[in-house]
Symmetry: C2
Subunit: 369 residues, 2 copies
């Protein structure tokens, strides 16, 4: 199925950067948190190549923030995730699986600690605000919860440090991975984190005032002309190679963090107060019976995975593929899927039922890096 | 801005009808509840003309259901809405504004009462499930809440009764507006309601088993050939003419039901238990200071409203337009907007700032019917 047209309306929100994105020749979008997320500029392959060699500016305003503020903020945050937040420092970003009372994934945001009683939760594609508001009301917690006017702009690629240093000064080079600094732009302090949805390195700038969007975009492009800066977006090929999971694609409410290979982000024993703690302690006893794995699917280039592709071994269903793309660098179809324990060992041969017919494939323990 | 391409992925879910929709030549989609919603087949104008004269089958599987079941189900439902549910009968569908504790709209679903302790909430575009799950956890209510395998298929248009009678029997003609009956299709009982997101009359069939989707679609098309049945979807022009509001477009969490002109669905005084009751009782004292109105915008055909268009009078901002389209039948641009009390009287002349420049417009108290 080739890409159809997307009907636009206010319900699919524009971002502070939308005008610039259109002027940059965006070809395709996806919709994420009720907002436009640019997905293709030249082509998935050309965007991929450029991301791996130069530097791109991404409109990821759709990573909406849930701001939690007040005396119960820290307690509430710990209720949301099995990751132990007790030692989180003030300049840290934590990748935080968020689960319901059964341990099912509701979102996999980055959480930023802005103050002891103030956090931003930078969300993936689900209305996590609604879950949090429900808990707050039901438990009468003393916090204020809302979606503030904050729109992340990402700068990704091997030349990201150089570009960012030209706009924010050399101090950006000192920001450690998943840490942030507050840096001035046009007299306004912005949170700048070393993070982003690629494996090429880079930053996310939390633009907390709509009108700063275009000046910041323009400053990055003016400073980066000789670095060959271009507009880009999360790249399907690159993120599958690198094993960056996508909520809604590779994991849903059906899955525990352990199934998603996110057990290392769960300190369930000490995450006291987490609403999913009872269920996840139980999961931790035996471990999951299926887990996310990388796969290499043989044969010609496959289209994107618009639906689940069943994975078989000896005629029995042993898993499903949730994301796939042709990798020019690895010269194979790279994929992410959920595979049963019986077949998840590195090197296991399986078959995948694709829209182009049955294909042989190999299960891998590591991603393509 | 013309329609861009939509990148497909599993995160933007297919429906049981997606194969048939593609075979019918769908040209554009929107994304609704993380799911594909077909929006254009021939063109918005041709689809509109056909909807008003014949009969269409709509894939509205994206109207996902939240199923609430258990001893506290009725109590929970009343917590969600200022509409008094105490007299709701077992075969009724209620249009139910759903609000948070400040009276802000979270969704505007249809609620179906399936049993004294079992409801379906047929939602608009927000993860209402998350709000409900949060409340249930926080208040330790005795209910089970989930998204079941239910995908509505709508049959809309003046010939809808004739088509439906051929597939489900003449008993469908007796179903009253916003009531439902349980009728067999291929030996399986389906909920069939007289409802739908058009003013042309018709039904919504709640397909509660994925595999029934294609047989039902095929049966409707086989039975309706001489009725000129076609695939369609919610039509922007027709819904604006008729004043069918769209959550995310015409109303958001910022708005109370009263601002949305939904006061008639609020019996806040007797809706005891509604979490927004305190706030809405306060609103009811004075009424809202802005409210949704229909507008006729002069001049040539305008494109869809991808963003808010400011409304001015004497140089002062008095509102904003949230949806707009050229109406072939009324030979004007029909629109929906939120207008301040000072300028909401029928016939008030205003100016609208459109992407095509400033246009004169007239505020109307009634929609275009």
């Amino acid at each position: 199925m080739s890409a159809p047209l997307l009907s636009l309306s206010r319900r699919i929100r524009r971002t502070p950067f939308s005008g610039r994105v259109m002027a940059s020749g965006v070809k395709a979008y996806t919709v994420y948190n009720h907002m436009l997320l640019p997905s293709v500029f030249e082509s998935p392959e050309e965007d991929y190549r450029h991301l791996k060699t130069d530097v791109q500016v991404w409109d990821v305003a759709c990573e909406r923030q849930v701001e939690v503020r007040g005396p119960d903020a820290a307690r509430l945050l710990q209720m949301l995730t099995p990751r132990d937040l007790s030692k989180m420092a003030m300049d840290q970003c934590y990748y935080t699986p968020m689960v319901d009372e059964t341990g099912g994934m509701l979102n996999d945001p980055l959480t930023l600690k802005l103050a002891e009683d103030r956090f931003w939760v930078s969300i993936a594609d689900s209305d996590l605000l609604f879950w949090i508001k429900g808990l707050v009301y039901g438990l009468r917690l003393e916090v204020d919860v809302d979606e503030p006017d904050v729109s992340p702009l990402a700068v990704q690629g091997p030349k990201a440090d150089d570009l960012m240093a030209r706009v924010f000064g050399d101090t950006v080079r000192d920001i450690r991975f998943f840490r942030y600094a507050t840096l001035p732009f046009e007299g306004h302090d912005l949170v700048v984190a070393r993070s982003g949805y690629s494996k090429q390195g880079g930053f996310e700038i939390y633009v907390d005032q709509w009108d700063l969007g275009e000046p910041l975009w323009d400053a990055l492009f003016a400073a980066g002309e000789d670095l060959n800066v271009r507009a880009g977006g999360p790249n399907l090929i690159e993120r599958i190679e690198g094993g960056l999971l996508s909520y809604g694609n590779d994991m849903t409410r059906e899955n525990t963090p352990h199934e998603c290979g996110l057990g290392k982000f769960c300190q369930t024993q000490t995450a006291i107060g987490c609403v999913g703690r009872d269920a996840l302690l139980r999961v931790a006893v035996e471990g999951p019976v299926r887990q996310i794995r990388s796969l290499a699917i043989d044969g010609e280039a496959l289209g994107p995975c618009g639906d689940l592709w069943s994975v078989y071994a000896n005629g029995k269903r042993v898993g499903r593929v949730t994301s796939a793309a042709w990798s020019p660098d690895f010269e194979t179809n790279v994929a992410i899927g959920m595979i049963r324990m019986t077949h998840w060992d590195d090197g296991t041969k399986v078959e995948v039922e694709t829209p182009d017919g049955m294909r042989t494939a190999t299960v891998r323990e590591s991603f393509f890096i």
